[in-house]
Symmetry: C2
Subunit: 381 residues, 2 copies
């Protein structure tokens, strides 16, 4: 049996390991925490991500390495890559870790991205705002996630305060994109360049954190073709092996890439019940050279994140068709501790199920906007 070493032992590693248990692919997670949430379903190797002894142990135990978060330092990963296959390739990680490199890489492939400028000085920042216009977004080049390390700059009068907040951290300025929808794509590619693409997913963020995802998103043939083209172009250019997540904006009927994540992704969690083969299983299949699985949707699905604390379990489970995914993580404000998925053959039924679920989860305020989106799927059918 092949063992996969996973750098990081959070909920993504946990769901990879759970998929591996069924598939007969064992996982070993490297994580400094005493009891990371993947440890109850995978072997846990306790150590810091840059602990060379721990990394060597991973090399001894496993035949291939992967990671469950993109902020792994490049040096330890290079240490691993000299000793065993690391999938996805470290190059993809390097690109995704740096918003400037990422934007340049994507733009060079002819894929639309928001106009951007490098910002290393206050002068750069002022010039960028002049050229891109206001409002615009300023983001640290590295280590941002869930909306952290980002500022919305209204006009040039905000330059001083944003520059102070940046405190000299290298940054990127991006033009504000008046998008209609936030979408994402999960694509998987294996070492033989075989691809599978999950359908476009529609995402809704609250306070910079993904709140819920709807899949498949409404999309006409032209938009679906655009999605496929850009997804395949990205993974091919990176000689990618594994799952890549692509966050997108829909602007006037076209797609623009916001960012990529070289790993399984929150917006693909619906695929556990909503596709024949989940993003987690397909990542494992790709990195261990097993044939890729079917990424087509089974009916339609709605995934709702559980953030901070659990709603009442009795109320949640009384909702027809709900699937609870508990990450066994301690509750903490703003922390993703689980997710909930409902699926249905038809959007009308999904709507009924989602409405009950949103009430039970105390998210009624989010429901009216979602109802419209589910109705849109229904119309498209």
């Amino acid at each position: 049996m092949k063992r996969i070493g996973i750098v990081g032992g959070g909920q993504l590693a946990r769901m990879l390991a759970l998929a591996g248990r069924r598939l007969g692919v064992a996982c070993e997670v490297l994580d400094p925490a005493e009891q990371p949430c993947a440890a109850s379903v995978a072997r846990h190797l306790r150590g810091d991500f840059d602990d060379l002894q721990a990394l060597d142990r991973l090399v001894a135990d496993c035949s291939v390495a992967t990671f469950d978060f993109e902020n792994v330092a490049v040096a330890p990963l290079a240490h691993l890559a000299q000793r065993m296959p690391v999938r996805p390739p470290p190059k993809a990680l390097a690109v995704a870790q740096d918003r400037l490199e990422e934007k340049r890489f994507i733009a060079e492939l002819g894929i639309p991205v928001a106009p951007f400028r490098s910002v290393d000085t206050l002068h750069d920042l002022r010039a960028a705002v002049d050229e891109l216009g206001g409002p615009c977004l300023i983001k640290t080049r590295r280590f941002g996630y869930d909306g952290k390390g980002q500022w919305k700059l209204r006009d040039s009068s905000d330059c001083e305060s944003v520059w102070a907040a940046l405190a000299g951290t290298p940054a990127i300025a991006e033009a504000w994109v008046p998008y209609q929808r936030e979408l994402s794509l999960i694509v998987v590619r294996d070492a033989q360049a075989d691809h599978r693409l999950y359908p476009l997913t529609e995402n809704h963020h609250v306070d910079g954190i993904l709140a819920h995802s709807l899949a498949p998103a409404t999309a006409d043939a032209a938009l679906a073709a655009e999605a496929k083209r850009l997804a395949f172009a990205l993974v091919d250019a990176l000689d990618y092996v594994g799952v890549l997540a692509i966050e997108l904006f829909e602007v006037d009927g076209h797609l623009m890439v916001n960012e990529i994540a070289p790993r399984v992704h929150n917006s693909g969690h619906w695929s556990i019940e909503g596709a024949h083969c989940s993003q987690f299983e397909n990542h494992l299949r790709a990195v261990t050279d097993l044939p890729l699985g079917d990424a087509e949707a089974r009916g339609c699905s709605l995934m709702l994140n559980v953030i901070g604390q659990w709603p009442d379990r009795q109320a949640l489970l009384a909702c027809p068709g709900v699937n609870i995914h508990d990450y066994e993580k301690a509750p903490r404000p703003g922390r993703k501790i689980g997710h909930l998925t409902v699926c249905a053959d038809h959007p009308n039924e999904l709507g009924e199920r989602a409405q009950r679920l949103f009430v039970a989860a105390g998210k009624s305020a989010l429901w009216p906007a979602l109802r419209e989106r589910i109705a849109a799927i229904s119309v498209q059918r």
Copy 2:
């Protein structure tokens, strides 16, 4: 978080524990093996099933106990039942452990069973064959599974040899039933007498072991109503909490109960992908007083057991839509070491997927008969 103690750590406990991981219900398995297959996903308490110290530890660790096989001795279970809730109730176990008690219990509810006679002596055996006619089946009253402890007796001339094979073990004689199909039902009931019923499943045995299951089985409204009536009557009479499996014969358009199993069951494995809430999750929900989940089928499903050794994984995973369930058990002739499930929205697609799967699994010889059965679902639609 509630912890469930499971007596037995085989694949059924493993799949319960895997469902529990998602649901946020932790499991602890009691098993004498060094590394039972549930141990990689649940806490393992090593001990014999009648080890009172180990049982007391289970009481200390858990809030409710259940079991993953029906041949648990009654005495240790009574020990547990005095100290914590045991679900399903030990009475159901006692009935299911003894084929004679089982048949009497079912018959008293007015549910059809094959004509039967108690056999304790050679004289009883001869009288039974005279009354029931040949051929008939002789089964030990206790500890039979997967066709073990059973003999088919052609006529009275076989009495001596079967009696010798029995070697004094108390037995039951059953009339041979000229059935058209082997079916099964999975029903779940909670402590508030709420019920959920999975659709009828059609089962195919080879050498006394379940080879594959097809769900939902074709069934007209009258047969489905009969199934519901008998399933609810059985669980209500036992004041049952948890999943009960009912093995059935279809004889001239009516149902006859062959046997019951007070646990999750091999013929319900399709429900992991083929229903919104699997039999495993519903068992956990029932025994921990959580609301029951949706037992309706999602499309149609085919489950194929992996017995003895694994077919080539690459070939299996190249089949569209296949789900591998590896129990992480050592290969051994006749041993159930995993199962495979394919699902589809429409029977025609299921047929295509099943055919590819049967070829990849080296089971082409079983395919023609299954093709006819899948075609029957298609016609019914």
